[in-house]
C-alpha cells in the first residue's frame, strides 16, 4: 500500500474514481479554482492545463459594470492577505460576450459566480445564464464583504432561503450558495440554503479584517475593511465545513487557505466533496496541477477507490 505514496504519476490509477457529484452538478474531479482568484481563466492558459481542472469559477459578475474599490486593494498579512477588490467587473452582458465563448471551449465545468444587490437582480442573472452554452452551474456570491448590499443574503437565514429558492426557480442550472464565515451560526445559514434546494454549499468566502499604518494613522486598504484569505484562514474554513456537514446532507465545497495536498485531503475527510483553490493561485500559479497529480496516490493511501468514499469520514 505504501508504495502508492511514492507514485506521484500524473495518470490516475484506473481503479481510482476522481469524479464527484454535487447535487445536479457533475465534475470530473474535485479540484476547482475559486472565483476572483483565477481571473477569467484565459490569463492562466499557458501556465495551467485548464481542461484538467474539475471546475472553473470566473470572477464574480454583477448586473451592471462595477469599477471596483480604490487602491490599495490588497495587503499581505501573516500567512495570508486582505483584499477589497470590490467586485471590479464589466457586468454580465460583457462577460457573456467577451469571456463565456472562450470558457465554453475549455471542456471544463464552468460555474458562473454572480452577485446582485437585490433578489431581483440575482433572479434576472439566473434567467440570463439559463441555457447559455457551456455554463454548468451558478454560484451565488452572497458573501462578498467588499460591497454594500448582497451580503445581507449571506447573514440573514430567511433572506438566504428566499433568495436560493427564487434562483432555483428561475433556471434549470444547478445552484451553489457561497456562504460567508462572518456569521454567528454557519449552521443556520447552511440549513437555510439547503432547505431552499441549493445543489451545494461553497464554504467559505473571506473573513472580514483590517490593516493599519500606525505612523500615518491611516487604514492600509482603500476600502478600510477587507476580506482575509490564504493559509491564515484554513482552520476557520475547516471548522465551518465540519459544522455545516453536521446539519445538512447537501454536498459541501471546501474553500479557504488550501495550498497543499494535505490541506485538500483534510477538507475532504472533514466533509467537503470538492475544493476550490483561491489565494494559492496567486503565489503558486501551477498548484492546481500539482494537487491533481498527487490526489490519486493520497486516496489510495486511505484505501479508497473514489473521492466520495473518504468525504466526511472524520472520526470524532
Amino acid at each position: 500500500m505504501n508504495t502508492a505514496i511514492e507514485n506521484t504519476n500524473s495518470i490516475a490509477p484506473p481503479e481510482v474514481d476522481l469524479s464527484v457529484q454535487l447535487g445536479r452538478l457533475h465534475l470530473t474531479n474535485p479540484v476547482m479554482v475559486a472565483s476572483g482568484t483565477f481571473g477569467y481563466a484565459r490569463e492562466m492558459a499557458h501556465l495551467v492545463d485548464l481542461s484538467r481542472l474539475g471546475g472553473i469559477l470566473p470572477k464574480t459578475v454583477t448586473k451592471q459594470e462595477r469599477q471596483g474599490n480604490a487602491p490599495w486593494r490588497t495587503i499581505e498579512t501573516a500567512a495570508g492577505m486582505l483584499n477589497s477588490i470590490g467586485l471590479d467587473n464589466d457586468g454580465i452582458d460583457a462577460f457573456l460576450e467577451n469571456h463565456q465563448p472562450y470558457l465554453t471551449t475549455l471542456g471544463t465545468a464552468i460555474v458562473v459566480s454572480i452577485a446582485g444587490r437585490t433578489q431581483d437582480e440575482f433572479v434576472e442573472m439566473c434567467q440570463q445564464l439559463d441555457g447559455v452554452p457551456g455554463v454548468a452551474a451558478i454560484e451565488l456570491n452572497i458573501s462578498c464583504p467588499n460591497v454594500s448590499g448582497g451580503v445581507d443574503f449571506g447573514t440573514d437565514p430567511n433572506m438566504c432561503e428566499q433568495l436560493v429558492a427564487a434562483c432555483r426557480g428561475a433556471c434549470e442550472l444547478p445552484i451553489l450558495a457561497k456562504l460567508t464565515p462572518n456569521v454567528t451560526s454557519i449552521q443556520d445559514m447552511a440549513r437555510a440554503a439547503s432547505a431552499a434546494g441549493a445543489d451545494a454549499l461553497s464554504l467559505i468566502n473571506t473573513c472580514q479584517g483590517m490593516a493599519v499604518d500606525w505612523r500615518g494613522r491611516k487604514p492600509m486598504l482603500g476600502n478600510v475593511i477587507g476580506g482575509l484569505s490564504g493559509p491564515a484562514i484554513k482552520p476557520i474554513a475547516l471548522r465551518c465545513v465540519y459544522q455545516a456537514a453536521q446539519v445538512v446532507d447537501t454536498p459541501i465545497i471546501g474553500i479557504g487557505g488550501i495550498a497543499t495536498l494535505d490541506d485538500m485531503m483534510e477538507f475532504l475527510v472533514t466533509g467537503a466533496s470538492a475544493v476550490q483553490l483561491g489565494t494559492v493561485n496567486f503565489y503558486n500559479p501551477t498548484v492546481s496541477m500539482t494537487l491533481l497529480d498527487a490526489l490519486p496516490a493520497a486516496l489510495a493511501e486511505l484505501g479508497a477507490k473514489s473521492v466520495a468514499e473518504i468525504v466526511g469520514t472524520l472520526r470524532v
Partner: protein, 303 residues
Amino acid sequence: MNATGLDCSQHALSAAYYADAARQRSVKIVENTPLSRDTFRLRLASPELASHILPGQFLMIRLPSHESPLLARPFALYDTWCDDSGTPLGLDIGYLVVGKATRLLKAMRTGDSVEVWGPLGNGFLPQATEHLIMVAGGIGQTPFLALGREYLGGRPYGNPGREVPPANKVTLCYGVRSKQFAAGIEDFENAGISVKISTDDGSLGHHGLVTDLLKQTLDQRLGQCRIVCCGPEPMMHAVARIAHEREVPCQVSLETPMACGIGICFSCVTKVRQLEEDPTGEVWDYKRTCVDGPVFDAAKIVF
C-alpha cells in the same frame, strides 16, 4: 509577430496581453552581489526565461517555503547574461532592500533556489528613435540597461531575437538620494549608454532633480527623441508633464504593488485614460498594471 510570438497589434500598450509565454520554475541563484548601498544584483540561471524575456518585462520571485512573506514580488529584467557564444544562460535583476522579501533575498546564497514565474507584462515596444532618453528615479533604473543595450544594437532579446531600429544615442538621466545609492553605472556605460546623474544632496553629479537633467538633455537632443521613465510616482508625473509640454513621446513603467503578476487578482490597478473614446482625457478605467502594463503611454495615466 514580435519576439514573444504575439501579434504586435495585440501586444500594444493597451492590449489584452496575458502571460502567454510565462512559465513557473524553480531556479538557482548563481550569485547575489552588492551593487551599491542596500542594492544588489541577483543572477539567476534559466536559459529558458533568458531567451524569451524582453526589456521592460518583469518576473515574479517567491521565496520557497515561506508563509511570511506569502506572496511573490515583481522585479524587472535588469539584463540577460550569456556564454561566450552569446547564448543566454540566465538573467539578472537589480533590487533595493526595502522590506520583508528583499531583506530575505539579500541573505540568499549561490546555489539556493527561488520560485519564479515570467516573463510577464508588455515590456517596451521597439519604436524607431534617433535619441532615446531614459529617466530613472532610484531603483527605477533597472528596466533600462537591457533596453539601452538593445537600442544600441548590443544584444537581441526575445526568441527569435527581435529587431529594433537602432538609435544614434541613448542617455540615462539617473536620480538618486546620494552617491552611495548610485548603482550599476559601469554596467550602463559599458553598454555604450551615456549616464547623467543627479543626487538630492549633491554628493554626485548634478545637485538637484533628475528632471533638471531631462530638460538639459532635451535642450541638447540629437534629432527626434523618445522618453522612457521609471521611478517614484511624483517623478514620473513630472517627467510626463515635461514630455507633454515639449511634445516628446513618453512611456512610463509603473511599479504598482502586485500580488500575482499574471492578471488574476485585480489588485494592481491604475487609472488609465480611454483617449480613443474620450480625447478630453476625463474618462478613465482601472487597468491591471501587470497585464495591461507595466509600460504605458504617459499621457494615458491619471497620476
